[in-house]
């Protein structure tokens, strides 16, 4: 959009000049990393030896405890007198409960309480995401407050009993009768009244020029339709909470990916202050966007209050499917027009998704189309229909997971019509500035990622001809696609640094670690900032009594922690400055002229002038030096820069000519995500995302029965995800170019792996078979 002027800025480095692609598992293992450039405010002595932390492939700090079984998850805490909860779920999509027969359950062995809307405590409606800065709930649907049923699977009764088995059995003895109302459970019906929707504070509509006219006039064009189903997160740890009301405090051991916001949201439901909720989640067995506030927390706490007993509520896998939200289904249209050289003249990405009445979450599947390619004219629009179903919610790479699938398949089809190599087509439409905002890129090396991926994969350039070949029954093909995920940093980040007498430091922040290695990465960032050895850094996290209101979401938590640590470090320098004795050359220097490195406070102007931190701590009155800071304004991505991660995914696919069975024997992916802080964690994040995407592409999908709105595959036996045998060797690498605008030089890595493989696989299927697969999941019957 050349009519929009890029934001001006006083100075910019040009990280793209760095052509060497340093990052890869092999290179990273050597640990040959320097400090990120540009992002640092202090010119510390070079990190080396024990002080080298960023870029070092430290093993996960939680790994050993988990392997030993020593890590305690939400459902593993217990208190004297604790009872176990079981839920009864509705079996209609909409209507009214006309009767609840609970007598048999109440009389069953071990039963302590049966709670229904008739005896549940009065509760406020939970605040969903975007309804307030702290809303953490999937929906604002009242929690067991009346006889109304709003989805098939809604909890209608809670049973508490002395054992889980007794609770489960008693739950089966409850009879519920309903008066059914007309429910909207059909995508087609709901789509008829779908409206242009909004997400994260903006309308999901972008129009630049006349994209339809440009499409009609285009020398070459494609106009395609796609379908994607609902997806469920399926964390290895089903949602669970252990609850105790004691001494005016609601104590919750939860599995949240945002402890502070969960606590605030739950406090409001109970009409108490957030200081009266102590919610922790030290270990979380996977989140993917689904470990937020759902009814189970609230029901457990309410039933605990009513029974005056500690409660453990551990959902069954079916329970997770019934009450913890899913990625919404979509129907998308991508139409591309170009001139004969492949310059896009029109980019249309529109479609319909579904949401519930009681939330403000619309699956934002056009986001990559805003930022990935330049086009003379654009029309991006998402319409949302309303269905009577379980709340739709965030799931790994919201929007981009399915949006890159559709956009990148369309580009492949356009490349074929143009007889241009798919990489070349992308290169020709690589934007100089952000295509829709006009802002300059903080750092972007997409083309390097394409080229390096092509080299490592052994990509054979093509010009409109399939390269696929036959090997016995197997049709073999290759395909590629770009990957995309935005940089974000949410407000609310904070951290406390406490130096001890032994030269170590304690980092405290209310961040979440769902298994991705937050504590490990945080310790490395802190080590680098403080100049304290990695092993001398202790990290406490996952507790709402700690500083900050962080959430592990949108791949932004590490950035939020980095900014918080930078801020806390500045406060710490001031604290340390106040402890410098009058005899020291450092005396009187303001904090801005001081730094910490190699276990010492030093003068930025004269790094040889230094005082060991342990001495400063010893001279303090309390024997510790502590400082807390809050991550500053988030304008780097909201106002100033275009900050987005990209990547390139290459796949080989084999399709059986007899059966249509699809196998993916090889995936190569190169990412441009800024600085990689820990290659071991990064590889795992990328691979995990790719495997999840493999599932989305080939097998995943909620079987939502449109006759009654019931999900019919609520188990691992029927909701298929990849097995080990489905997962090939996955070669991942990265450009490792620090983003000068990101707090640690890193843009976030948790979700981008989810974007790209679906299109790369679909494109490879075409290369192998000549058949285009535009509906997910792509299963064998589509290719027979």
């Amino acid at each position: 959009m050349t009519n929009i002027k890029p934001n001006s800025s006083s100075h910019k480095s040009d990280p793209n000049r760095r052509q060497v692609l340093a990052g890869s598992a092999a290179v990273a293992a050597i640990g040959a990393f320097g400090l990120p450039v540009g992002a640092q405010t202090t010119a510390a002595p070079a990190a080396s030896g024990a002080f080298a932390s960023l870029g070092v492939p430290h093993v996960r700090r939680d790994g050993a405890e988990k392997a030993r079984g020593g890590a305690k998850f939400a459902a593993e805490y217990s208190y004297p007198g604790m009872v176990y909860g079981a839920l009864v779920y509705s079996t209609i999509a909409r209507g009214t409960i006309t009767s609840l027969e609970t007598a048999e359950a109440e009389a069953a062995p071990g039963v302590v309480l049966v709670m229904t809307h008739e005896n549940a405590p009065r509760l406020e409606r939970p605040e969903p995401f975007y309804s307030s800065p702290t809303g953490m709930a999937g929906s604002s649907t009242p929690v067991m407050q009346d006889a109304e049923v709003l989805w098939n699977g809604q909890p209608v009764a809670v049973v508490l009993a002395s054992t889980q088995e007794e609770a489960d059995h008693a739950a089966t003895l409850i009879n519920v009768a309903y008066e059914e109302a007309d429910a909207v459970t059909s995508f087609d019906v709901a789509a008829e009244s779908a409206q242009t929707s909004f997400y994260a504070g903006r309308d999901l509509l972008i129009e630049e020029g006349d994209a339809e006219a440009a499409l009609a006039d285009a020398e070459v064009s494609v106009d395609l339709s796609f379908n994607t189903p609902a997806h469920n997160h399926n964390q290895i740890e089903p949602h669970a909470v252990t609850v105790l009301w004691k001494d005016g405090i609601l104590r919750m051991h939860d599995c949240s990916q945002g402890v502070d916001l969960s606590a605030i949201t739950i406090a409001k439901v109970f009409g108490i202050s957030s200081a009266e909720v102590h919610l922790s989640a030290e270990y979380v067995g996977g989140g993917f966007g689904g470990k937020t506030v759902w009814q189970y927390h609230i029901l457990a706490a309410a039933a605990s209050q009513l029974a005056d007993r500690p409660v453990r509520m551990s959902l069954t896998r079916e329970g997770v499917f019934r009450i913890c939200g899913a990625r919404a289904p979509t129907r998308q249209r991508v139409a591309l027009g170009s001139d004969r050289k492949g310059r896009l003249t029109s980019l249309i990405h529109t479609g319909t998704t579904m949401k519930i009445e009681n939330n403000s979450m619309t699956e934002p599947f056009f986001e990559q189309s805003e930022h990935m390619y330049r086009a003379d004219n654009m029309h991006l629009e998402i319409r949302a229909g309303t269905m009577d179903m379980l709340a739709n919610t965030f799931m790994r790479a919201p929007g981009a997971a399915t949006g890159t699938f559709t956009l990148e398949v369309a580009l492949d089809e356009l490349a074929e019509r143009l007889a241009i190599d798919p990489i070349e087509l992308r290169v020709r439409n690589e934007p100089d500035v952000n295509p829709t905002t006009g802002r300059e890129h903080s750092q972007r090396a997409s083309v390097d990622a394409y080229r390096e991926g092509a080299r490592r994969f052994g990509w054979v350039p093509r010009s409109g001809q399939r390269q696929g070949y036959r090997e016995g029954e197997w049709q073999v093909g290759t395909g590629m696609a770009a990957a995309y995920y935005p940089y974000k940093r949410f407000p609310g980040g904070a951290a406390r640094i406490t130096l001890d007498r032994e030269g170590g430091a304690l980092i405290e922040t209310a961040a979440a670690d769902m298994g991705m290695g937050t504590t490990t990465a945080t310790a490395a960032v802190a080590s680098e900032r403080l100049g304290i050895p990695y092993d001398a850094i202790e990290v406490r996290h996952g507790d709402n009594t700690l500083p900050g209101a962080l959430i592990a979401a949108a791949s932004q938590q590490t950035a939020a922690i980095g900014a918080s640590l930078t801020a806390a470090h500045e406060v710490l320098l001031a604290e340390l400055a106040s402890l410098v004795p009058a005899t020291s050359p450092l005396h009187g220097l303001p904090a801005a002229e001081l730094g910490t490195a190699e276990g010492a406070l030093y003068s930025l102007a004269d790094p040889h002038q230094r005082i060991p931190l342990i001495d400063l701590v010893a001279w303090s009155e309390s024997g510790t030096v502590s400082a807390e800071g809050q991550g500053g304004p988030i304008s780097e991505w909201t106002q100033d820069w275009s900050m987005h991660s990209t990547g390139a995914v290459f796949t080989e696919v084999r399709v059986n000519s007899v059966t249509g069975e699809i196998r993916v024997p090889h995936i190569t992916a190169i990412y441009d995500c800024g600085k990689i802080l820990n290659s071991k964690l990064a590889e795992s994040q990328f691979r995990g995302g790719i495997i999840m995407a493999l599932g989305m592409t080939l097998m995943e999908g909620a079987s939502f029965d449109e006759r009654n709105g019931r999900v019919m595959n609520p188990s691992f036996g029927s909701y298929y995800m990849p097995t080990h045998l489905d997962v090939p060797h996955i070669d991942v690498g990265w450009t490792d170019i620090p983003d000068p605008q990101a707090p640690t030089g890193a843009r976030g890595i948790g979700e981008i792996g989810m974007s790209g493989p679906a299109a790369a696989i679909s494109n490879a299927i075409y290369d192998a078979t000549g058949k285009r697969a535009r509906d997910l999941p792509i299963r064998l019957d589509a290719l027979m």
Binding site: Y89, D168, V658, G660, M699, R710, T723, L725, L780
Partner: protein, 328 residues
């Protein structure tokens, strides 16, 4: 799960004595029964564990093999005689479940496992004639990708999920059962009962009868056999279609053919007419295609499983061609 008692039988006689009516159930490894109990589909109040019984695989004087009902699936698949003489059985077992489940699951339990129809499993929210006779079938008109196209009825379209049983069907295995009344032997191809309008009745086993062993007839010389399974992922998924096939070719003509299908019917589906159409013909693609069409001629599909008719035919042809090899 219902409250229940658990006891371990010391012998088949002991097990039968302990079985005192409908509320009792024999328990193998429980890889299916315990799931059914958790879901509230099976509600026994007395479990009689028979896993320690009938643990041997013994060659018989007639050249056949007797496999104890309590032998693990893994032990059968790894047995040297089974691998050499009944390769389709070994392959079928290894194509099923996971290594952990195969290590636990018993032969008797595998034969008696119940359909994985998701409507059958959804006690709270779906109608199922198999679970609650006369209630209706929500799989018809619902999600039925996994469901049957042969031998199904208006009241039930569920499939039998076993891989092992498909190979047993190919080999004309015989199931030996014991009860208070004595023993009897039932060919596996007569053992299962089609649903018609009583899909709750799945086999000929009477209440209180215990499967004690399975007999495999003596292997035929020069018989080639294999098992091919097609599913929605590479492992740990039930068959959409599977084929156990066998051929004996002599002097350029097929003298014996076996085709048993899995994933398409309420029982392992022996395609007798298709087999007959092959015998006496040269082992050509045309012969096999013709047979495959015969095998699926009576298929009745649902919107979700229309593809199975074509898929089953293709896999039959591919399996038979593979078996024919150079003789084609």
């Amino acid at each position: 799960m219902n409250p229940l008692t658990y006891e371990k039988a010391t012998s088949s006689t002991d097990a039968l004595e302990r079985h005192d009516g409908d509320a009792a159930k024999f328990l193998g490894a429980g890889t299916n029964l315990v799931d059914l109990m958790r879901e509230g589909i099976a509600t026994p109040t007395r479990l009689i564990d028979v896993t320690g019984l009938a643990q041997s695989i013994e060659e018989q004087s007639d050249g056949g093999l007797r496999i104890g009902a309590g032998v693990s699936n893994t032990a059968v698949a790894e047995d040297a005689t089974v691998r050499a003489q009944y390769p389709a059985l070994s392959r079928a077992i290894l194509a099923g479940a996971s290594a952990q489940i195969r290590n636990m699951a018993t032969v008797g339990g595998n034969i008696l496992q119940r359909t994985r129809c998701s409507y059958f499993y959804d006690v709270a929210g779906s109608r199922c004639n198999k679970r609650s006779p006369g209630e209706g079938c929500d799989a018809i008109g619902g999600f039925n990708r996994a469901h049957g196209i042969l031998g199904v009825s208006d009241s039930c379209i569920a499939t039998h999920p076993s891989d092992m049983a498909v190979a047993l069907s190919l080999y004309d295995a015989v199931i030996n059962v014991e009860s208070d009344e004595g023993t009897r032997s039932i060919p596996i191809n007569d053992f299962y009962v089609l649903p018609e309008d009583t899909p709750d009745i799945e086999n000929q086993l009477n209440p209180g009868e215990l499967i004690v062993s399975v007999d495999l007839p003596a292997p035929s010389a020069n018989r080639r056999a294999t098992y091919r399974k097609v599913r929605d992922r590479a492992s740990y998924a039930f068959a959409l279609v599977s084929v156990a096939g066998s051929l004996i070719i002599k002097d350029g003509l097929v003298v014996d053919a076996g085709i048993s299908l899995g994933g398409v019917a309420p029982k392992p589906w022996r395609a007798i007419e298709a087999e007959a159409a092959i015998v006496g013909s040269p082992p050509t693609e045309e012969t096999f295609r013709n047979a495959a069409q015969i095998a699926l001629a009576d298929a009745t599909t649902q919107p979700g499983n229309v593809f199975k008719t074509e898929l089953a035919q293709r896999v039959i042809v591919a399996v038979l061609q593979d078996l024919a090899g150079d003789a084609q």
